[in-house]
């Protein structure tokens, strides 16, 4: 086959352009750390990208039916947290609840949707949710504990998705 013939062949079979893709790993289960993967995935999908989030270890809480509405942020060992307390006081009962309450008020005042609503927004745009099967086994989380529409899978399945991604981020 000559080069010219080869080029024509390629032109004739030009595939439709593939949408961009973002692959995120959500590894943390605190209220503040639930937002970045959900915001990025929702934004990417709004731009017309394919988006997928791999929820692993504590990040599983973000797609855990019962834990999602109760995500917390601690004051203890969190010098940037919503309330500034000495660590010794951050350890007393009620300190984490107080910090969580302040952060939720920040979000409400800024008209930012709660994490539960971001999950619905992301799902509505077709964002893929991968639930790390190893984390589920280690932490005793059952598929029935997760919100609907999660794909229970291991690292290989996520990498199969992430390998074709234009952006990959670990959060």
């Amino acid at each position: 086959m000559t080069m010219a013939a080869l080029n024509l062949d390629i032109l004739d079979n030009e595939p439709a352009p593939r949408p961009k893709r973002i692959a995120l790993v959500a590894s943390k289960g605190t209220l503040d750390q639930a937002y970045p993967p959900l915001i990025l995935a929702t934004t990417a999908a709004s731009l017309g990208w394919e988006a997928g989030v791999y929820f692993t270890f504590y990040g599983l809480d973000i797609i855990h039916r019962k834990r999602l509405p109760k995500l917390k942020v601690a004051s203890l060992a969190n010098p940037s947290g919503p309330i500034q307390l000495p660590n010794l006081l951050g350890a007393i009962p009620g300190a984490t609840a107080a910090a969580t309450g302040v952060m939720k008020k920040w979000m409400r005042d800024a008209k930012m949707p709660p994490a539960t609503e971001f999950i619905e927004m992301a799902r509505g745009l077709g964002v893929k949710f991968f639930a790390c099967s190893t984390s589920m086994g280690v932490m005793g989380v059952k598929e029935a504990d997760l919100i609907d529409g999660c794909l229970v899978a291991g690292a290989a399945a996520f990498l199969d998705f992430a390998g074709d991604a234009d952006v990959q981020l670990f959060i």
Binding site: K20, I39, T42, T43, A45, S46, L47, G48, W49, A110, K111, M112, P113, M121, L125
Partner: protein, 83 residues
Amino acid sequence: MTTPIQEVTETLDTSGLLCPLPVYKAGLVLSRLAPGEVLHLITTDPGALEDIPALARQRGDALLGVDNQGSRQLFWIEKGSQQ
């Protein structure tokens, strides 16, 4: 840059909302519009001056005009045909 746009198909006011909500809500409207139809978008998030052009570029829509009024920003976006 101020571009008076005659034919607006839909107006979306996202005043008071922060990223990603203006992009998210504009994306929902643009997905619904037909190619050639125009969304008039109002934002107050200062990041929108960068975000909305990026939204149009990434989606393949055309940013027809931007009016930065300081406290708010006005955009006119024409839905592209490559979607």
